[in-house]
Amino acid sequence: MLATKAIMEQGVHVEGINFFTGFCVEGHTHAIRKKDKEKPKRNNSLWVAETLGIKLHIIDIIEEYKDVLINPKHGYGANMNPCLDCKVFMVKKAKQWMEENDFDFIITGEVMGQRPMSQRRETMPIIAAESGADDRLVRPLCGQNLPATLPEREGWISRDKLFGFSGRGRKPQMALAEEYGIEEYSQPAGGCCFLTDESYSAKLVDLWKARGTKDYELDDVMLLKVGRHIRPNQDFKVIIAREDGEARFLEGYKKNYINMNCASHRGPLALIDGNPGAEDLYVAAQIVARYGQGRDAEQVDVLVRDLAGNESTLQVRPFGVDEMPKAWFI
């Protein structure tokens, strides 16, 4: 937001690009759950574009991004976040868009030293070089700490009006925001990607391990954001809704997964991912019963729907609180 504003202040026409990887954290994802209802249901990139008065192009890179996540040349960060490869890839895509749409250079909001992986003095030249953007990549917020870029040398923008921010502190950025009259801004401390989240990353690694391959579809990564994930063995896991909002979301996947819910008592919807055998389904039903209102009953009827839509009922004793090992919870 600040980088865009800084370049717009120099009289340059700027348009925004927002890449959607499938792992983006948005208010909407939070809004599935009641506890997050307070968070604004808005797409922050659209909100920023509207606030700045620029056009925004949202680009779906879900398929292409798989290779970035599965085979990161520069490795992962603290979790499954391939930040440096991700940045290289996105700048490369931005360069492609720039050329197709007759734009002259790319700007990013990077600040040297702000992030431990992709925003270090040593890694910033890697992004410029490996993306192919080279000296058409301008970082307005820390540009004065870097060699002059083509737009500066050509006089398209003034180097004097760029900034020399560095380090993890954000006070200079906050002061600049105040100077620009920007009172509200999103993600002041990063964290806009589920791959930086420890819990989410554990679920992704579990998925790959269970399937024996580092691959995924969009539905997989969406479902990792929702519900309790409980894996009694490598053949199956239970994804169980924690509340009505999640149950409604999971409803949309009922045709693609074996699914079950309590029939004799109120209880949540659960999807069964994997290839469960008959005994596995019985265990899954005991888990589902555990999270329904019949958790203390001697017996609960659990309705099971297979992939063909056929229904059957399992009569199970719900698991007790100590009967589900901690290791099952992903």
Binding site: F20, K41, N43, L46, K55, H57, I58
Partner: protein
Amino acid sequence: MSQYELDARRLLCPLPVIRTQDKVKNLQSGDTLRVTCTDPGVLQDIPAWCRINGHKLIETHSSEHEYIVTLEVGK
């Protein structure tokens, strides 16, 4: 002027906006597009996307768990 439909149910933000954006690219000015979604966030996002990109919001409508946004493609 033609009327078009887009089914964006089950999609979470920002996919309904991306699908709308991609559909509108192939429509003519004055055409209308009716987008059906299950993510309530579209009631904010598609109107915002219309404002940013010069399209006209005709109406938004909510049923029990579906959200419908109708827009007219701008120039």
